[in-house]
Amino acid sequence: MPEDPRDDFASPQVDFASLGGDPAPGVPSNKTEAVPGPLVPLVVQSCYSFLRGVPRPRDLVEAGKKTGLSHLALTDRNGMHGLPTFVEACRKAGISPITGVEFSDASGRLVLIPRSGRGFSFLTQTLTALADPGFSVAVSGAIASRRDKAKGKSNSVDIIDTMREFKIEYAQDLFVLSDDLAALKRLKASSPRDLITPLEYRPSESGSSPDDPESWLFCLVTPCNKARWAALAATGLPPVASPEIRFLQPSQREVQRLLLAIGKKAGYWDVKENELDPLSALWSKGTLGLGALLSKQELIGDLQPKAPSVWDPPPALASWLATAAGNNRRIANGALGDPFVGIHFPSYQGNLLSGAPPPAATGSSAAPEVCLPAATGNSEAPKAEASVATISPGPGSAELLDALVRQGALRRYGHCDGTVAERIAYEMALITAKGFCDYFLIVRDIVRKASRVCGRGSAAASIVSYCLGITEVDPLRHNLYFDRFLNPGRKDPPDIDIDFAWDERDEILDAVVKAYGPERVARVANHNCFRSKSALRETARAFGMPDGEISGFERSLRVDKDKALQDTDEAWRHIMTLSRDLVDLPRHLGAHSGGIVIVPNKIANYAPIEETGTGIRVLAWDKEGAELAGLVKIDLLGNRSLAVVRDAVASLREQGVELDKDGWHPIDDADTVALLARGDTMGVFYVESPAMRLLQKKTARGDFEHLVIHSSIIRPAANPYINEYIDRLNGKPWNPLHPLLAGLFDESYGILCYQEDVSKAAIALAGFSSAEADGIRKILAKKDSDTRLKEYWPAFESGASARGVDPATIKAVWDMIRSFSGYSFVKAHSASYAMLSFQSAYLRAHYPAQFMAAVMSNHGGFYSTLAYASEARRMGLGLLSPDINQSLWRCRSEIATQGQHAIRFGFCMVSSLSASVAQAILDERHRAGSFFSVDQFARRVRFERSDAEALVGCGAFDSLLQVAKLPHAAQHPEFVDYAVVSRAQALMTLLSVYAFREDQAGLEERGQESRIRMIPGNLFSEDELDPGGPFVGVHRCVTQPSQPPIPHNTPSQAPLSPRKRRQAEFKYLGTTLDCHPLELWPRLFSQPRLRARDLDRHVGRRIRLLAWPITAKPVLTSSDEPMEFVSFEDETAIFEAVLFPDAYKRFRHLLFEETPLWVEGLVEKDRGALTLTIESIKKGE
């Protein structure tokens, strides 16, 4: 029960009206200067209080700016995931950010606001401790948690205890705010020194409280905790007033209800009113003033709507509140501002990854710690005063790097002089000056761990990277300029992204973590946000929709959104509307695909570290956040094509063909160039998508220089420019967009092609400084680049106008610049990619079997197994089913009958075959040789029913079906007795053994004697191949002469009909092998019809063919209508088709089904490439 605070206070009256609230009638407002401006919100929750908060940090800052706040805090609940976004927004808005965390459990809360770097570090470390799985916050439940701790099973982090352990210098490091009485009491008692000043403030004339630097503990007074005011006042602690901000609009409260329901996995209706934050935590002009604290309604529970919103407080209360308001300002001023200063950089300590011990464990202290200024002498916390300039190289790392680069140059160029030496000297000078030597050395170590890499991004422009083996493109030969990567003016750290073979990446990440120690390395997080799909799904679940129905609705949305909405009912429409509010709200942390951060000491000092649901340690921040926080990130990304090249090269090596790493120059190979020029590139890295293949066909260029352009210009938004490019390439005369741009883009025929072209254009046309221009370039790669890009438009327009450029040209160039947003490459990156494209194209041109085998094993890229299988058949390769004795895990090439090259499917292609069984097969084969009967296989390898079905279904046992023909059969006549001659029998054999084992296990479990021993006259001779197994001879038990002989098991001995065999292949391998899947529909297949390979003879005509869709890419027309590019194939060729919006609406749904389709449309030829404009699609029945 709230007591009347008047009983406790007797102080002069303060004019509350001046504090920003609604003026009370009759109160003169002549003391407005008493407490300047509105109260600073110190308790602010954003959407980064996962699944609870709603407002986005940016919107909060915006609101703060509008209100004219000088400071704004962000104190998310038990986390600070939103901090970088918040700080960035504050920087832009000119508001001082206040960082903080609201530690909160069921009973109460503590708001901690750091005053120093050390305090900030305390927060990150506490949050890190908290993020251990299963740990929760304890704020005031001190006694219980201590008891737990005594028993050694505590799973809560007691904040107050932690503070004590950290020996926080309260007066310097933290402000602690709470309205939890128990916590306040404990804190008061635990103060190491008696720093807590009892309530003895005498509000001065100005109404502000004395600036007591010693006070750090405050009782929190907000409009939401009025019921506790009296009790809080009674603690005698200094009060601090603050609005609580949870919502920016009243409607956000319903969003919170939805979020809570999703978080609890409960129904929308199950969220009780009292679980939501009170509506008084709404941001409004009123809530920011003291007036809100005094709104009478809530204090005395008067529900009369006409009641005055502010009442005259008794003098004691007024005085107390005035003190509280004063303290608000004090905290705002005393809190740590922007916490992100400086760059935190690792130092090279020798090749930790090679497995060799680091130079010396103590070496790290000898090595100057990057980033931490020596002046502070404090190695624990980052210092606000740190700056970029303080980065200094580790001892000797420059020399080491220089030596390694020269060594690499000899390998790459065969010499190290002339232009090579010049370039190296130039780059090394810059790298050394900026202190990035350690960084390069570390990246080199990481790269050396992998089989193949592809350095991406601007790093590929560096000869140092090239010599170190980080990239594969010779920057000298291909005119790649180092300045794009590093230049004297650039302030941010270099950014080297490296692709690894997709299946090696995790291993490498683990190795890095292990080498540098988990306390110094963390992965970068992804803030997994609700996308429209997940938002819809989760909202629907909260409203009790069953999953099946949700999927159905999603499918209908995909086909035709408008119609789906129109057809559906009220409930779904409501769900759709609500779900839109969730889109882009963060949901939980995930790991970024490859971003990794290494710091010299303890990473928890700089940022909270958490564990994702899958147990990966990540920063609390995403890549932008990590960058803002000055953490240098290395991106290690997975790339399937690197694995394709690796596997193909390895299989060639096995066959005696060595493609020497340094002597291999695919870009000089005429066949490869021709192949690329034909666009005959399915499976080739980056050039295999339908759009890219069309571009290759239209341009008919396959040389490296053009491929670099093509890899870059193929951006989704650049369609009009692509056509223009093709025309110009084919001889259309052209002029630069403007004389100011003359000569800048001649290499790409006057069309902006690379990211850096945007900078070039901005400098040349609008007179941007190179820093500004670089700014534009950088945001192109960011998440919300389109909105951020708009901010540059005024400057661009005015700058260009000032140079006399006409508005139309300005607009045209700007449009071209906008087409870069979201997805674009720098030239070095394109070149790097083109190099990998060339490697894979070379393999395709010269070693098609090995190449396609590798493509399929690595599950290719753009297409399904079915599409690659068809392509392989078209390339004249045979496809062989997996074989129990021949197959490896991956596909491999074989010479089949008549010298035809063929691809033997590997076990990795068999769906529903478990990897462990596949491994067991390989191991067993390695251990004791081939299997020569199904029966023997069953005894040597353990498997589950589903494995048996998958293996038999895909045909892996077909080679064992004629046991009598096998050479071993003569030595093991007993097996001939029960020769397995059909797949059905093979499966029955396997299942019998499985069932036998199952029973056996059951018997053993019950402690009974094994069934085998109960069979009279045990027949199992000791010379069995595998004497160990108790399952030996399940067949032999029954083939005992005294019992009816079972030479075969019952299932049909007839071989499978081709149709059934192909169906099984289709089911277990995803494709048919010896024929196109269309042949599964013999009646359709045998109909007289046009074949896809003959399309070019029908240009301009309407035709109809039987086809199978293999990939589809939906896009929006200029008027935002959905349409789709679809690749179809029949047994002869692949062809590209387009469904314009009308056709898309009518026929889209047919593309989801696995049936042949009759496709009808007009054959058109555009710049030498054929497309079919679809008019109708019918299911082939």
């Binding site: 009790g544 009912d569 009220e570 079905e949 019998s992 069932a995 079972i1046």
Partner: protein, 393 residues
């Protein structure tokens, strides 16, 4: 001589009744659903609609989308329940051995009824004719010697067919049918059997014991059944297993706890009234929730004594409903079942029963209900239920 087990399989009862009322529906794809209500589902459908890929329980909007111009017929739940009840009664006229397994499905054992009703085939013909004559619907009927055979047979000669099998042709006919018709063969097993080249029930029947075991833990049972061996008896309902049951269909379906609670309370009032009319109280209260995707939740409570008052029953039913509501999915139908009846009424006591006043109130209410029908006097809370609930569906 045909067997004596008769199976009546009236799958599609609602559609049949709809067809009966409107002959223009015959041969046309149509569905039975509560049109006009949001989130209505397909309750039943004609065979031609089934051929078009529409299924029971599909959302009506979805069905209409996939088959434009689909006719929709309002259900007649009362008639369906009546038809079901009537069929059961007619069957009981033939033999006391009638097993009810789900709405519209009956097994009858006609053994030993020859003297009264003639040979089983004639008797079943007559029963069928009676069903057609009195209800106008034509369920599929099979006469054979085991429950399994009859089940398979009704799945072959459907819809509306009749087949009488002699024992020697019975197993032969069963053997010819695809394995998936055999009760107990689901999609997983079907795929496995297909890989084993076992497409017909006959091939399954030919498996040897160890092979039967190989196809799965329940393989031996299946193989035995495939051979036509099925000695499971027709299980008539024991009189002591009597129960009172009432369900309400929610249109639209809902997961709102308060709404579900109200419905359960409403149902317990209806059933409580019915029980009190017979002077009975229930010792067991069960609630079944049919979720909107076809899954079920069920919970039952045993009561310390035979309860009969609305408030007591409602309390127990609410509790059961809470336990049955195990998934975060909308509920389509709520079914309340009272069973294990005992004599109602307070135990005689020397003093006035503690709840005398409540008892009196209950009595007064019942008198009003008895005279003017239940809807004459209902608690205000029920008024909000409005259209979203249909009792007795």
């Amino acid at each position: 001589m045909a067997g004596t087990i008769l199976h009546i399989n009236a799958v599609g009862l609602m559609a049949a009744i709809a067809e009966l009322k409107d002959t223009s529906l015959r041969r046309r794809p149509f569905v039975v659903a509560n049109q006009g209500l949001s989130r209505a589902v397909v309750l039943d459908l004609s065979s031609s609609a089934h051929r078009e890929g529409i299924r029971r329980g599909m959302l009506l909007s979805l069905a209409q989308r996939s088959l434009p111009g689909l006719r929709v017929v309002e259900p007649d739940p009362r008639r369906c329940a009546e038809a079901d009840e009537l069929m059961w009664k007619m069957a009981l006229g033939l033999t006391p051995l009638v097993e009810k397994c789900g709405r519209g499905h009956l097994f009858l054992d006609l053994a030993g009824t020859g003297r009264m009703s003639g040979p089983p085939q004639d008797a079943s013909m007559r029963l069928r004719r009676e069903i057609i004559a009195r209800q106008g619907i034509s369920p599929t009927i099979a006469l054979a010697s085991t429950k399994t055979s009859t089940k398979v047979a009704t799945r072959v000669f459907r819809p509306g067919g009749f087949v009488a099998l002699d024992p020697h042709e019975e197993s032969q006919l069963v053997r010819l049918q695809p394995v998936e018709l055999l009760p107990g063969v689901g999609p997983v097993l079907k795929d496995r059997l297909s890989l084993l080249d076992i497409e017909m029930i006959g091939a399954l029947a030919d498996l040897r014991p160890f092979e039967a075991r190989a196809i799965g833990p329940r393989g031996p049972d299946l193989v035995v059944r495939a051979r036509g061996v099925d000695d499971s008896p027709v299980n008539p309902q024991a009189p002591e297993r009597r129960f009172l049951e009432e369900s309400a269909v929610l249109e639209p379906d809902s997961a709102e706890p308060e709404l579900l609670r109200l419905i359960v309370v409403r149902l317990s009032a209806t059933l409580g009234f019915a029980a009190r009319k017979q002077g009975m109280g229930a010792r067991r209260v069960g609630v079944r929730l049919d979720f909107t995707d076809g899954k079920e939740g069920f919970a039952a409570l045993r009561l310390p004594r035979a309860m009969y008052r609305d408030d007591e029953l409602a309390l127990a039913a609410e509790d059961a409903a809470r336990r049955a509501f195990i998934r975060r999915v909308r509920v389509r139908r709520v079914t309340l079942r009272l069973s294990e009846f005992g004599a109602a009424g307070p135990e005689l006591d020397l003093f006035d029963p503690r709840d005398a006043k409540v008892e009196q109130l209950q009595g007064a209410l019942d008198r009003v209900h008895a005279r003017h029908g239940y809807s004459a006097l209902v608690p205000c809370a029920f008024l909000s239920l409005g259209q979203s609930m249909r009792v007795g569906a």
